[in-house]
Amino acid sequence: MKALNIIECAYRATIEEQDDTIVWLTHAMKAAGADLGLVLRGDAVNYAVRAQNAAGLAFGDWRQTQPPRLADDIALLVTKGVAVYVLAEDLVLRGLDAADLVPGLERVTRESLPGIFAAHDQIWHW
């Protein structure tokens, strides 16, 4: 079976979780042998932006030592063989281009989504 995760709701508790829960789930399921693809759309296209940095969070004496590294997590998915698609229109709306992103992503248009969906047995829109 081949499943496609779609992430649209971005930065939901990523600071507290120290990652994105669906990106994490994709890593964990891939490690368990799952055949998965991932679509980043809406604000979630920003997960692929290399320059983001969430370091430095502190509350009183407590310091966060492992902030979320979302772009690294996305890049690592690519190296593990997960096809990561980013919506071109959502990148344009946010002024992002290929140079801003981690390498290895597939930039796709909205029009091409039905074809991508058809290539998967299940679609999981988080």
């Binding site: 507290e16 120290q18 502190a58 509350f59 004496d61 492992q66």
Partner: protein, 137 residues
């Protein structure tokens, strides 16, 4: 001399569900640094923020053991904020909505958290310079 204000925050989101809580805790951090008297009325899922049975965990996806992962536990954040408030001459009075605690079985909160009701929220708000409500969306 800096004026010591009194601020009340009403929080509603459960931990690990929303970035709003992180923002709220950052605002509280600033207030405690300034020595303000800070009140928190934790309502609904927010009563889980100081839940004492939260546990850190390793993260195989990150390739880190439990110490290396140093996972953020909101109970530790609340404790750190209470300590910082005291050190800076202020206070952090954290009130968990009692009925919200009961329906979630969340009675085991860290030291310093007290049980209260909406009436306490009203009293805290009345005695404050201002109140910020951060509700669930």
């Amino acid at each position: 001399m800096t004026e010591r204000k009194t601020l009340t925050f009403a929080l509603m989101d459960a931990p690990y569900e929303s970035a709003r809580t992180t923002t709220a805790l950052r605002l509280i951090d600033i207030a405690t640094k300034r020595g303000y008297a800070v009140n928190v009325f934790a309502y609904e899922g927010a009563v889980m923020l100081p839940f004492n049975r939260q546990q850190p965990h390793p993260n195989a996806v990150h390739g880190r053991n439990v110490e290396e992962e140093n996972h953020l536990l909101t109970k530790d954040v609340v404790a750190a904020l209470m300590k910082a408030a005291e050190r800076n001459g202020g206070k952090l009075d954290w009130v968990n909505c009692g009925l919200c605690v009961d329906e979630r079985g969340a009675g085991e909160a860290i030291e310093g958290v007290r049980r209260g009701s909406p009436a306490d929220f009203w009293k805290l708000a009345e005695a404050s310079d201002n109140t910020l409500v951060i509700g669930t969306r």
